[in-house]
Symmetry: C2
């Protein structure tokens, strides 16, 4: 479960910020900053130092203003995260894969999302259950649905399939970021952690009580040098995800480019 919530405040205010449609104030002193600068500063900070670094005080520090000043630009932290998310979506460069088989199209969608998560390690910490309904998300959603268009799926099925694919990518990216954070927090990478635990575990663990676990666990551990390898899990999982969707898509054998693959 992500720790940071978005979509918390007044929907009208949030949407106005996302679509840049707030009324310009006429009284009072000129504003020193723009909302975009706040979002940019927060994003830069989070990119450099991870999700844990996103605090109003740190963001304000980056901008040379006091913490409370941020609240004149953004209703609160949740909305700031919404804006960061949508801006990140907006910066994604769309790859044109029209005309390619559907597996390639969906692989491109997955890879693009994975790349986004790698570039912005804080993305996984932000809930997308109530997504920021801004231009960035809309363009992304439109683009990604296009990769699923013309495959004979119903509209709800297209959404389901996309949710499934993106859910996989997000879960995997969270694991990867989690591994990075663990390495930083504990000054020990996964391999070292595994190396420290394995011999100790052997002393308390009775192999006869857990025959499969010891056999498979050590085989898997030996294969990636740790209990878990996100990169490998991505490659393995993506293949399974696409095969799973194939069972849905190739159900109807009569639709253009897609079925040919």
């Amino acid at each position: 479960m992500p720790s940071e919530r978005t979509g918390g405040g007044d929907p009208a205010r949030t949407l106005a910020l996302l679509w840049n449609s707030g009324p310009a104030p006429r009284y009072g002193p000129a504003r020193r900053l723009r909302v975009e600068a706040v979002v940019e500063a927060a994003t830069g900070l989070a990119d450099r130092e991870g999700p844990g670094a996103i605090s109003m005080r740190r963001v304000a520090e980056q901008l040379g203003v006091s913490p409370m000043t941020l609240y004149t630009y953004v209703p609160g932290k949740a909305e700031l995260l919404d804006l960061m998310l949508d801006a990140a979506y907006q910066r994604m460069e769309p790859a044109d894969t029209s005309g390619r088989p559907w597996r390639e199209r969906l692989t491109a969608v997955a890879d693009a999302n994975r790349a986004l998560h790698l570039a912005h390690p804080w993305l996984g910490a932000v809930s997308t259950l109530r997504p920021p309904l801004g231009p960035g998300l809309m363009a992304k959603y439109e683009r990604e649905l296009a990769a699923l268009d013309g495959l004979g799926l119903t509209d709800p099925e297209m959404d389901d399939a996309l949710t499934f694919l993106l859910g996989f990518v997000q879960a995997n990216a969270r694991d990867a970021q989690d591994a990075r954070a663990a390495r930083a927090d504990t000054a020990m990478n996964d391999e070292q952690w595994w190396a420290a635990n394995a011999p100790l575990l052997e002393r308390v663990l009775d192999p006869d009580a857990y025959p499969l676990a010891t056999r498979v666990g050590s085989a898997a551990g030996a294969a990636h040098g740790s209990a878990h390898d996100p990169d490998h899990a991505y490659r393995f999982g993506l293949r399974r995800v696409l095969d799973g969707l194939a069972a849905l898509i190739d159900r109807r054998p009569d639709d253009g480019v897609s079925a040919a693959e």
Copy 2:
């Protein structure tokens, strides 16, 4: 990304706690509590009030001791979470599905994990990247691998497949818990949130610019009354996950019960 880290401290100390093999102290006053009581109190608290409620002060309060007292039972919060996790795994009741087709076996594994997450809403907030290598996890791992045994998979493939399946369940459970937390935090359920946003969105959104997004988005929104429905996503996703694994498993058509399915 889960916010709470486990496996942070000294592996030897953590393993001793997990396997109950610490040396009994001989000096000093009798201990008022037992480690199990601390773990139980923390689990009860978290079950009732969610992951956010797990704080050393709150747990101590439940037990009628001062916060710092907990540190004589447990090295820190990370290790407490490890113990909570392993204890929760230990309480899972294994369903005997041997002899059933592999799809049923894996469905049972997925359902059991989903039920665990529903019973313990804090599970999703805890990282399982460096899992607590205790008796609970071992028994669970052994049991779940058994559901994948005899299908012609290699040892690493068995681990990969299980990781993939459990990853899906965990990601979905996080979404579900996230929805619950959002409802509590914002005093607004997903349906209300969607109802508040949809009309506002219509005003700023140009349907011609995002034809697929508007069509599919509103179809999906209408189908579950919100942007996202975890229960539906679970049913849809589990079918895809099993189909995806089928492509791997049924690759070799010659192995007992499994291929018959």
